[in-house]
């Protein structure tokens, strides 16, 4: 596979053509924050946490869906990018209702950890205090829209890995909701196989196993490691 050379944070790296900026950065230990991205699922470019600056480009680009090119000059942590990332996570925390102290995912949550990592100790925006529904109609799992960040990992893993395609998205912008079987209660879904893949990949307390109370939900992903690694390599034209 043809090789290219690019600069990330003033260091020269060589990479395979077709790799994304995020993949190359991670291979070399450069830490770019992500939220919607999950290795082995098709990248979506939704959350914008992975924004990086490219020399000569008027606006930042998402590293998870931007392919590297010969001679690219990438900056991953300018003051502006750091501020954008903080704002994005603060907006997520303000949009739905993230009361960590009473959440099933408390202390095991990617959003909570990301906020701490980015230095967020308060939110500068007004909280919306929406009262969104919960769907607890499925026997083993539940969905709390109040904790959803619309990363769509559930949609992607259910479609691409389980092959069930139970989840879709209804609405636009901040009124978007993930919906089962074209907007029916999850409990009446005939496509869902109860495999739990969506629950385990969900970064927050939005999808969880019933019976978990505050702080008891831990996502168990090891059963997906091999299949996601195979998919990740296949996307680069390689195999296990």
């Amino acid at each position: 596979m043809p090789a290219i050379t690019l600069t990330i944070n003033n260091e020269l790296f060589s990479a395979r053509k077709e790799q994304t900026i995020l993949e190359i950065a991670r291979e070399h230990g450069v830490d770019i924050p992500t939220l919607c991205h999950f290795e082995g699922l098709e990248a979506m470019g939704g959350c914008r946490l992975c924004l990086v600056e490219l020399q000569g480009s008027p606006r930042p680009v998402p590293a998870c869906i931007t392919k590297a090119a010969e001679g690219m000059v990438v900056t991953t942590h300018s003051d502006k990018l750091i501020e954008y990332r903080k704002m994005l996570v603060e907006l997520l925390l303000a949009e739905r209702t993230h009361t960590c102290s009473i959440c099933v995912q408390n202390n095991n949550c990617e959003l909570q950890a990301l906020a701490a990592k980015l230095g967020i100790d308060h939110v500068r925006f007004d909280y919306l205090h929406q009262q969104l529904p919960m769907d607890a109609s499925r026997e083993r799992f539940a969905l709390d829209h109040n904790r959803c960040v619309l990363c769509l990992r559930c949609v992607r893993v259910c479609d691409a890995v389980e092959g069930a395609h139970t989840w879709d998205v209804r609405g636009r912008g901040s009124t978007s909701r993930v919906v089962a079987d074209l907007d029916r209660p999850w409990g009446s879904s005939t496509s869902c196989t109860d495999c739990g893949k969506c629950v385990q990949l969900c970064p927050t307390g939005a999808l969880y196993k019933k019976g978990a109370t505050v702080g008891e939900m831990k996502k168990e992903r090891s059963f997906l490691n091999r299949i996601l690694e195979r998919r990740r390599l296949a996307a680069q034209g390689r195999s296990l």
Binding site: H98, Q112, D121, H122, V123
Partner: protein, 179 residues
């Protein structure tokens, strides 16, 4: 060296943050050499004093009394710190924000057991509720934040130590998680 004048206050919260402060245990005895506790639920002062160096404020702004006290605290304090998640995010206290105040009182006290407490007029037992519960920094300027529900004693100690050393309060990544 004069002692640091520390005040604490308990607005719309459960007092858990103050319990966590007490959980510093023997360290409080050591801190007593360098700190004078001048106001708060743990001492007997009736009026919020002047010239406070550090004010740790637990709880969100939920009613008029909280609002007035917070404004006075801001006027009289050099450093004002949001102490715990209720002060910082509204947390559990703000869960009532999905209701209008009237609906809230009706559903709790009229539809539920007991009678409606009197509020909003002279001589009332309860201070008037604000339309929305607010985090402190949406009401006054806040100098630092100690997240947690409640914040671990280590976080509180780190913040107080920074102030004693004349440094800015900047908790590390593992000490600034909400929840």
């Amino acid at each position: 060296m004069s002692k640091l004048r520390l005040a604490t206050a308990w607005l719309g919260g459960c007092s858990g943050c103050h319990m966590s402060l007490l959980d510093l245990g023997e360290l409080l005895v050591e801190l007593a050499d360098r700190i004078e506790l001048v106001y708060g639920p743990l001492v007997d002062a009736k009026q919020f004093p002047e010239q406070v160096d550090l004010a740790l404020i637990e709880g969100a702004v939920a009613n008029l009394e909280n609002l007035e006290l917070l404004q006075q605290i801001r006027r009289n304090s050099r450093l004002l710190v949001s102490f715990g998640d209720c002060a910082i995010t509204g947390n559990v206290t703000s869960l009532r924000n999905v209701f209008k105040v009237d609906d809230l009182l009706t559903s709790v006290y009229q539809a539920g057991p007991g009678s409606l407490p009197r509020s909003g007029e002279d001589g009332d037992v309860l201070p008037e509720l604000l339309p929305r519960v607010l985090p402190l920094h949406q009401v006054v300027e806040v100098d630092a934040f100690i997240p947690g529900c409640p914040p671990d004693p280590e976080r509180i100690l780190a913040a107080i130590t920074a102030v004693l050393n004349g440094e800015p309060v900047m908790l590390g990544e593992d000490q600034r998680t909400f929840g």
